[in-house]
Point group: C2
């Protein structure tokens, strides 16, 4: 179903319930609230539900007034690729979703109708197109919501999912009054004290091997407990080793029950999948993982040995010209 049909479907109904995914991010909330405001502006009864509370950092997207109560006649899921992402609080709606609006190619088509644009950098792109096709005005409030979805799902327009349309829609949202600089500051330049603390601890673990061709960090449960950092605050941190100049193999170890989860990113030539395969894991050529049992230093020694052997093999092949 395309955005024109989806828009006609939604705006011809009333008492509309919008669902966002659990652990909500900027795209599910930005998309959901944009649709909510458009429906309110069109005189419809509509509300938004999410299994988890709206995080403080996204509170500025939420309306200042209470959501209306009603028995939903039409249920729309936004940015929810899979029923598992509904979360406990929304379980009762799982079999009743009339329409799902999404951009994840992995969408499981659980809804009666699905409006999916896998080429969109964010679901907010699909929502904006839908509002335009439905002839709904894009207010300043809606522009802030759509912009938040666009910028959060693309790492502020850094990632490879950005298309010319993403950037042009962002331009249009600026013209419609979105406070882009303010939103970017909240989203990308504000760090919690616990994030600062875990960053510090993790940077203290950086080790280099093989002339800087391998960089390794680790995160223990003790570090997490001591800093009070949560999973979402680890997102940027664990990407660190592969961001270091000259590093071919970036290794992150995360303590789990009985051992360490190893994640390996490679830059140009090492096959991460093969390498992790030798330790009982697997994955892709540039990103793979495995689980190693035992204490920290033993796990580190094992990974470093495997990386060293892979680098040696590569160097030998390069010398012999058999690459």
């Amino acid at each position: 179903m395309d955005t024109k049909q989806a828009g006609e479907k939604i705006f011809s109904r009333d008492n509309i319930l919008i669902l966002c995914h659990q652990n909500p991010d900027g795209d599910t909330l930005g998309s959901g609230f944009a649709l909510l405001y458009a429906l309110w502006n069109a005189g419809k009864a509509a509300r938004l539900e999410c299994a988890d509370p709206v995080p403080k950092s996204f509170a500025f997207l939420a309306p200042g007034r209470e959501m209306p109560r009603f028995e939903p006649e039409f249920i729309v899921a936004v940015d929810i690729a899979d029923l598992q992402l509904f979360g406990k609080g929304l379980e009762r709606y799982r079999d009743r979703v009339d329409l799902c609006i999404d951009h994840h190619p992995s969408n499981t088509r659980y809804a009666a109708h699905t409006c999916l644009d896998a080429g969109a950098g964010a679901t907010a792109e699909v929502i904006l197109q839908l509002l335009r096709d439905a002839g709904q005005p894009v207010t300043e409030e809606i522009a802030n919501c759509v912009y938040t979805g666009l910028c959060t799902d693309t790492g502020c327009f850094r990632y490879s999912n950005v298309t010319p349309r993403t950037l042009r829609m962002a331009a249009d949202m600026l013209e419609a009054g979105a406070d882009a600089a303010g939103i970017n500051r909240r989203m990308f330049e504000t760090k919690s004290q616990s994030r600062i603390a875990i960053e510090k601890d993790v940077l203290n673990t950086v080790r280099y091997y093989f002339g800087g061709r391998c960089a390794l960090i680790y995160i223990t449960r003790e570090m997490l407990a001591a800093t009070g950092a949560d999973e979402t605050e680890l997102d940027g941190v664990s990407a660190l080793p592969r961001q270091i100049e000259g590093v071919e193999a970036g290794v992150t170890l995360r303590e789990k029950e009985g051992g360490f989860k190893v994640s390996l990113r490679t830059a140009e030539y090492l096959d991460a999948s093969l390498l992790c395969g030798r330790m009982g894991g697997g994955g892709h050529a540039r990103a793979a993982g495995c689980f190693l049992e035992g204490p920290l230093e033993q796990c580190i020694a094992r990974v470093v040995k495997e990386v060293g052997e892979a680098l040696d093999a590569r160097d030998e092949a390069a010398e012999k010209g058999t690459l």
Copy 2:
């Protein structure tokens, strides 16, 4: 002089020398090389000069072949706001600049003609407009140069200098073949080992005061020497304290001869200029600085005392309702 006139001026001449500013960044080099390639494509003899070598991270913008030699008949400075930014290597051209293309409102108008658009987020915007007005094709090579200028001068489209035009031009560059995701990765997701090392050291200095309303970091000369980090690698690091959630006063101390340079950023209500004024410095309401003589702990104690008094005064006024 507008971009149409500037374009006519450049493309009607031959043997054109393009100048970039010292310590070259992505905008001066992106703008300069974009213009260079366009002139070459138009069959002109042209070369680019800079007082400093092209940093490794921008080497991909430079041509694979040598610059042609000639006695310049027309000299264009790009993104150089002031003669002081020419650097030693370009001193001989200071009085001979025919045209300056820039976006800095502070431009000192040292050239015979100036094409300045202070509303542009980057000089690359002005260059692209000029090439369009001159009817010059935007090749993939030029698109990469322009995109690099746009993204580096705007913090990858984060800052308040981004306009709808900036984003639309970036969209057009993607369509013209710019490798945006690859450029963003090089520019924003690659860190040197020395940058990692100084980040670690600086994070180890973070101190909080007054329930987290003040955060302070310091950078000593010993830290710089030990990590091998240079000034450019400190850019992001010194912004850290004001990025921390809940912080009203973010303080950075940098060791200089005989004491510490203090820079203070405030979030919402403390007057940084007033506060630094009490320590012999000054600046703006949200960003100010001063110099304090003496050893580290003495300087820290002084700043913290002043911040504490300013916070107390503010709290008292808030209680009395005399704000």
